[in-house]
Amino acid sequence: MKRLSHYRRHKAVAPLLLVIALFAIGTTFNVASASMKQSPSAFARSTQIDEGKQIFLKGCSTCHGLNLEGSAIAPSLIGVGAASVDFQVGTGRMPVADMSTQISRKDPVYNEEEVAALAAYVASLAPGPAIPTDAQLNYERDGSTAEGGELFRNNCAMCHNFAGQGGALTQGKYAPTLMGVEPKHIYEALVTGPQSMPVFSDKTLTPEEKLSVIKWIKAAEAEPNLGGATMGRVGPVTEGLLVWILGLGILIAVAVWLTTRAR
């Protein structure tokens, strides 16, 4: 290094550096545009991070603080990782519209690129769980439905109900339905434990097991109604209501007809 620094005031240095820099930028751009879809290069990432920072400062920093440190009404985002941001913003939970008992799923405010930028920005400041790639999420190939069902009933059904329809928690909170949730977001929820949901670490619920759970949820979602209208797949409560309203209702109507005199 000493030798190199010795030349740093040489008059050829500036043009040479310029050439090198231009060359570097050029190649980076080439490489980046070639493989943009797969993994953004350092350059693209840095612009993405900048973009994410802008979005963050505009849309998130009021509550989560200028440096992700959080505030009285919002948690710190240091170390939550890209997965958490992708889940919260990608499912529309963030930015939050209604702060009452629970933040619920809605149409996302930001588009996919903006979500990715935000996630990259938050992840760039402190490491945390990453967004699973498509290759990691190939549940059709790597998961097993039956095993997933077993895992689901052990780890998920107590809150999300036997068919993933969701259920009640304490004080008005609830476990949301899992129907129509993207596999990526299910995976991220398992890894990050959003809101009331606990974390399912990769060591105790392995990535393959997570894929199996996702595969089972997708199978339950796609399952046609084998025995007729499902009435929400929430168990005997709706069945009881139907028996009184429709079952006994029709029978009483017929009984009234049966016992009135014909004209």
Binding site: L169, G193, Q195, P198, F200, T204, G228
Partner: protein, 331 residues
């Protein structure tokens, strides 16, 4: 009151108006056709049932608004059956209503009390009969009869004895012993303390030797829920705190109320909720009951790590897990 006031006379039934089918031959014909049409619909239903049973494959699904994707075989089989039965019934009722006689008939009632002569004769018969048995005089027979009848009632109860084993200490024991590893359920993998992040839960069972099958009656007592908090979040007595390991706390997953699996863990509030009857337990205070019908906290398992770093039980449960029972010492 009722005795003195003058009540209204029974005016008798209003004049019986004839039905359309009674007076109008065309209406009669129409009624007949209606009944026949209903019988026809019933027959159609039976045909639909037969057709569906034989010719509709069981793996075809059709979309029906409101109801969603339906299995065509099941749906049409059921609708055929419903039609065939329902319209058969409608036809019979319509027939009775429109074409059969609709004049009402009067039956008379009699008081149910038997006549005095009958009653007296009955009493006499019974008395004579009883006197013939001479129970009053035959003291010995009476005593031995009572004894034999009493003993006779015992065998049927006794014969049911082998329905099951005696409880013994069965409800107070679980498979947990000092040094038993906690393994994931399902998966049977041992767990390192470092495998759990703060805020994570693991459903666990005690490790069993390779190849052994767990009995359901063991699974009814053994499940343990592992939860990791930040150690400073605990608000436990020193003894209970000593039973945790590095922020990891272990509770029996079997509800102390009626034995459902209490596994609804709310990470933010640190509350455990039982989905059956909504007993709520506060994890930070050693699963103290804060809501609902449960009367006792969930039993806590004393855990530590073994030489390889895997989580193990340091001691068995210090009390019976699951719902209460008479012999349980809960003090």
């Amino acid at each position: 009151m009722s005795n003195e006031i003058e009540t209204f006379q029974d005016p008798g039934e209003a004049v019986h108006a004839p039905r359309a089918a009674d007076v109008d031959p065309r209406a009669e014909k129409r009624a007949e056709q209606q009944v026949a049409a209903l019988f026809g619909l019933s027959a159609l239903g039976s045909l639909l049932l037969i057709y569906s049973y034989i010719w509709i494959p069981t793996d075809i699904f059709i979309f029906i608004p409101v109801m969603g994707d339906q299995n065509a075989h099941q749906l049409f089989l059921g609708l055929g059956m419903a039609m065939s039965l329902f319209f058969l019934g409608m036809a019979a009722i319509l027939w009775a209503k429109k074409l059969m006689s609709d004049t009402e008939v009067v039956n008379h009632r009699h008081e149910f009390r038997s006549s005095n002569e009958d009653r007296e004769e009955f009493v006499k018969t019974v008395k004579d009969g009883v006197a013939g048995v001479q129970l009053g005089r035959r003291k010995l027979i009476k005593a031995s009869l009572a004894a034999s009848m009493g003993l006779f009632a015992l065998p049927p109860v006794l014969l049911l004895r082998d329905l099951g084993p005696l409880p013994g200490k069965e409800l107070e024991k679980t498979s947990w012993k000092a040094g038993t590893r906690l393994v994931t359920d399902p998966g049977n993998r041992p767990i390192l303390a470092s495998d759990l992040e703060v805020g994570s839960v693991v459903q666990t069972l005690p490790a069993v030797a390779e190849g052994t099958e767990r009995l359901l009656s063991d699974i009814a007592k053994d499940p343990v829920l592992l939860i990791r908090l930040r150690p400073e979040e605990f608000n436990l007595t020193p003894e209970k705190l000593a039973m945790t390991h590095d922020g990891i706390i272990a509770f029996s997953k079997i509800c102390s109320h009626m034995g459902c699996a209490v596994a609804l863990y709310e990470q933010q509030t640190k509350h455990l909720l039982c989905p059956c009857h909504q007993s709520t337990f506060d994890v930070t205070r050693g699963a103290k009951v804060i809501f609902g019908p449960a009367a006792r906290p969930l039993p806590q398992l004393d855990i530590t790590v073994d030489t390889e770093g895997y989580l193990v039980a340091r001691a068995p449960f210090d009390q019976a897990v699951g719902p209460s029972f008479w012999e349980r010492n809960s003090q």
